[in-house]
Symmetry: D2
Subunit: 442 residues, 4 copies
């Protein structure tokens, strides 16, 4: 029975396994240390030979192997809320790695519970964000779980101080090693994005080589004519993607291929964005532990979705709701995601008003994709009517008394005039040196 | 003497004159109403025949004509602080019109004071943002100024209810009208940007015609090879633009043409961005008076600068300072600019800490410009050293004890584990329906 | 039938009537102007002879008179959400007037709809907050309602320029005037508070005379022994008030009188606070229209509730949720209330996450009331367990590895040490003039 | 020479010494471990026999003893900026302990530098805030300092697991122990406040015994007549305290005793507040490490100053500046202080705009102190004139056109009416269940 740990065992560990050298060695090492190990993989849309990984894990000595298909959960519970909130970290990073972590952690906890594991282990390094994101999620979901983080355990990291030590250990344990020419950077991939960091990228002034970028076409490979699509949102969630036929004009149209499955919409946007060179990012970001690090990312579909969603919000969300949502939800939820606090009271709190803000985000955005650009060509909403062309038109005075604005300005200026009087009384005048902040001395 | 108003005059008005039909008629009308009128134009970098405008104003009856060259003041006192703060409105609009208003208003107040005007007048319509921006600035700088806003005065707007009435009045007053085919939208231009709004753009689902865009090349007109530049910032201000020679590689280099004059840097960036199709925007935005309106903008150079400045900040600004600056200064200063509160105590307050945040923004960013894209290819800083490649490197344990992270996570998870215990005690588990927010019902 | 306006009438007006001189004259004046008038009073707990007011209104010529009992709605829909959010304006004012306005406006709209009124009118002056609060609520609830605000209509305010003109008009129209010695300030009362402003209070350096304060005992009138009470909250709402017997000791106890009706709880707290001198406020505040004004307030029960609720939150609300709620909900909802935006999308947005934040606010607070002081003597929660005496105890190392804190500090200091190195490199040292901000020059 | 560590020594340690049992044992233990120890005490206004402590430290074996008088630095560089910012943590705690830490840490670093210490040590426990505050300050000021925290070092804390072990060690080392009856709580005192925590206070429902409170009179000991004072601020700093003679009336007056020295003002306010029972606090707060803890505090003078400063700001600070300062500076600086980030880039950033906000905080506040209450009786400013009694007066229409307000409301309601139309179109009405948030279900 699964809850009985083998006699003599230190206990049962669920290991986040990748099939690579590191976690294969960790798997063997944990067994060597006296643990019973169950290997776990999450399918979050990365390119991976899961069967080979399973076989390898079992061969090394894993008692069981679990593969969890997290793609739908990933899209629906993490990615789409992030789209609703226009999440972004430090103005640039779309949080692709961060978004996958809660889903993987939750799926692991599922196995921890059903398989009665006392321990959980992973191959994250000791300086990164992912160890924090995983472990905070583990602890929040199962407060009494015990974490084994070999790369932070001197017994492990002192023994395996370089790649050669791992290779030797692999040889000793009969772990097959596939001799791929190691890339001078490391990557993490899922259906939202791929990240590149470390290695030669550690110098922030080194331009990533063109052949590093794996997902998205370079501009020299992209078609030179625009592809037109329409995305329909309901409560801020994309519910329909319409790919207009080649040569479609920039006008509203219902012609084309229609996709309505949430995961399919996201994957198709990925495909389109990759084709048109959309979604590369290069940033020096601030990790949660307080060091600056350089990361390169390809987030194809998400880049389109963010632009489309933000554009539609301009049409259908109240100004003040939007400003509050931007300042509060967008900023906080992005930070929560980046730092790994998805399973937390503050995320629940923030998300509770996000939903409210999206009730009116119903409508359709027309886009042209071309050469790295996502161009909004039009937007409309059948159900929402905050935009009033008649009202805003300079040619119309219906529903609008221009004199009202005089009163508005008179009242809004009361405070400023009082301040201006005070400023003049204290010797101010209208010269630049009196009215502007001192120029930055350079 | 300038402070003596002609006998029989209702007083002296300084009129913001554009040379166009509207303000020419307003000029004639004000004279007809018994005012003495001084015409004023600000050179904020727009394409304009100022001599022709001067001649026209004087011919219509303006007592004097003032042309103020505001370009340097515009760049140094408004644009560059906005660059330092990464200002943006509703996530999209770079505030080109808003930025010019305080400069023009201040220059007008200069003339108001020296010419002892009791009144000030402008041709802004009654539904827009500009009337508010101008008048709040006027009142803040000279609290006792009196504003004449003809398009909000029924005596005026009822008399001149359509374009034909203006044309008739112009004929009557001998005002020359240049028969240009009227564009089905209106524009406002300065050295930062050009805006397009109204007319056919009032339908937010109408794609702007390709020939509307006046400044920036369409992608089909752009070179297909990247142009490489380096921008050096000092305290967040661009102090050097280096245009690398054609065919330059994506590596640090000091080859090329160097520009160091602040205004010249901005104008050259404009030229480069226009050539490479960079800086078009199409947005439904929320006006200060509370209506939604659709605007299209071309902000070429500013688009490059914003990306470069934000990127450099990643390298040289402390994480927490940046987060606070983003949440507080960027948001507030953008709102202040958009709504027309530049001359206000809150702008002074916000700008006082902006300066502090820019003290370390010293360094150089390398960029490639191509086909609408601004691609960051590298960044470095000689003086600032918050980024530490050694420290962040996965290969190095110098200056970093991996076990410290265990302690960090242990402490950071105290609160979450308490919350998790409570959640489980109340019947929660690890299933999706227990740990996620309810899915948005669509 | 109510929807038929009398022939010759300009239309039907619902008038917010108070029974006083101003609104009685407005009533007569509206009739004189050709309107059919329905008088409306809301019972929000103020001391008032509603029957006399009804009789007077009808005598003056009102077609009908409506009295709406809004007390329960006031407490449940406005006051208690404000308690949940710890609402306060500018750190001092508990928003008693603001809280009553939405309730009154909604009740009036009820009559507007059932009686098919085209107009609504009120006696608010042209400089205050209340006109804005009422009218924004009217427009939000019934966008096509037309407002008649006599004190902003020159036809009215020029005719009735002083009190004598009103008295003369009252005499002419046979409106009975009760000759009460006018107080040199004006007041507004409801079950939450009473406000005093204008008149002698307009000098912010004038101390309010002791006999101005109407509700709350001066300290010289208060008992000198504490009265002990316990308040139980459920989801942030007070659900039980226990008044312990005289002489009760500061220990948990279930002895005493128990009150559980929401309105009754609030009214009883008012009574207790008034007896013990609790809840007087004197403030210079900033009105929505941008002028500073001085207000004095007595908010007895609300003062107790706010302190109790905030104290309990310390025990049962997560730290980060509380910080976000404070910064976001408390601040915004207070501003929304003060400025009169209760019926708005932003209030709905903000309130949606307020509810979430209160889910754990379950527990009981013990208080002593004495001589103007509300003293918290203890708090507990049966259902919530975020507080862990064992965990926090200095004497216990259970569940806590002191070495973890070393790791925590090591990681938290990475960023600061980098900054410190940079500071020293640039010539900083540890002297006061190097490490502190420049002292304010005075 | 001070920079030469004795041969055989592990290095030189600067120890934050208190004279008590813990740090005396730590001193002896450090020597036993092979360190050379310098003892350090900071005079931050606590009641202490510094001479006895010096003698004791030297007797135990400290090489040197330093006493730093930090009182003036404490008041001027920490307390007064906190007064300017109205700092408060979680709505209740005035941050008395937090405020002292940076001053002590800085003074220690002074000695570390002059005495060339490689190590620094303290007696803080492993669960509290103070260890974090001290060490973050140490690292920020001297990034290469090494910290010895015995209560987090298992070698130490396992050896000295209970009080008896410490007593035994003291006996062994000849450390004199003064047999005071230990209080069932621990305290920390400085000139700002005294704190009480731990022991019997760990049950948050235990009322602190009356004789715990050491500084401030119980209400039964307070005079029953008010004492009147006037405090004058310049740029937000108290520059003059005027104590009016007994029996003074609540009117502006210059009679009385005047105090102008910054430290003296603070100490005198302490004395007055203690006499009148002002400044007791009892709170469950959230520590930086994420646990909830209960603290009781007496902050006499600070309580008066905060109320006075906030009141004056109402008169002289612009509304929008104040709102931004409250939301941004007050909140952030309080958090920075509590968590121990005084020496950080974010504190410098925040403080840079605090200064700006205080430029107009010039004026005088009149207060009555009585029975735990601080009652504002009036305020005035000679130099600042944002308050305009004429303008705000209901009796005056000078400088104010009541019709302007109609325009203001018309414009402000555009957005709300659009929203209201939309709401009605979607089936909303004016009934409570349609316009309010769902009532909290209890």
């Amino acid at each position: 029975m699964s809850s009985t740990v083998a006699a003599g065992s230190k206990g049962r560990v669920l290991l986040a396994y990748s099939g690579g050298l590191d976690t294969s060695c960790i798997l063997a090492w944990l067994i060597e240390q006296g643990y019973e190990v169950i290997a776990f993989m999450a399918d979050v849309g990365q390119e991976e030979d899961f069967d080979a990984a399973r076989e390898k894990a079992l061969k090394i000595g894993a008692k069981k192997f679990f593969l969890a298909d997290c793609k739908k959960e990933f899209v629906e519970h993490l990615i789409y809320p992030a789209v609703q909130a226009n999440c972004i970290y430090e103005g640039v990073y779309l949080l692709g790695t961060s978004l996958a972590r809660p889903v993987i952690a939750r799926a692991m906890m599922d196995v921890v519970v059903t398989e009665s594991c006392q321990f959980i282990s992973h191959g994250c390094t000791g300086k990164g964000n992912d160890q924090v994101r995983f472990e905070l999620a583990f602890y929040a979901l199962q407060p009494d779980i015990k974490v084994i983080a070999p790369w932070r355990d001197p017994v492990f990291f002192e023994r395996f101080a370089g790649r050669q030590a791992l290779l030797d250990f692999a040889a000793e344990k009969g772990i097959p090693v596939f001799q791929t020419a190691a890339k001078p950077w490391s990557t993490d991939e899922n259906l939202f994005h791929i990240s590149y960091e470390a290695g030669i990228l550690e110098d922030p002034d080194v331009t990533p080589p063109a052949d590093m970028w794996k997902l998205i076409n370079g501009l020299d490979k992209c078609p030179t004519t625009p592809e037109r699509i329409s995305i329909t949102f309901k409560k801020g969630i994309p519910v329909c993607l319409l790919i207009h036929p080649e040569g479609a004009q920039p006008v509203p149209s219902t012609d084309g291929t229609e996709i309505t499955d949430p995961v399919e919409i996201f994957l198709t946007l990925n495909k389109l964005a990759r084709k048109h060179g959309i979604g590369r990012i290069d940033i020096v970001e601030n990790r949660f532990i307080g060091v600056k690090s350089r990361g390169c990312y390809e987030s194809p579909g998400a880049t389109i979705l963010r632009k489309a969603h933000m554009d539609l919000e301009g049409l259908v969300v109240d100004r003040n709701v939007r400003a509050l949502r931007d300042q509060f939800v967008t900023t906080e939820l992005s930070k929560i995601l980046y730092n790994g606090y998805w399973f937390s009271p503050e995320r629940e709190f923030v998300q509770s008003c996000l939903q409210k803000s999206q009730e009116t985000v119903n409508g359709r955005v027309r886009l042209a994709l071309i050469l790295g650009n996502v161009i909004v060509e039009g937007r409309m909403s059948e159900s929402e009517a905050l935009y009033d062309a008649e009202q805003v038109s300079m040619d119309s005075v219906t529903n609008f008394d221009p004199q009202a604005t005089s009163g508005f300005i008179a009242i809004e200026s009361i405070r400023l005039r009082k301040w201006g009087e005070q400023r003049l009384k204290k010797g101010g005048n209208v010269k630049p040196e009196s009215v502007y902040a001192p120029k930055t001395e350079i």
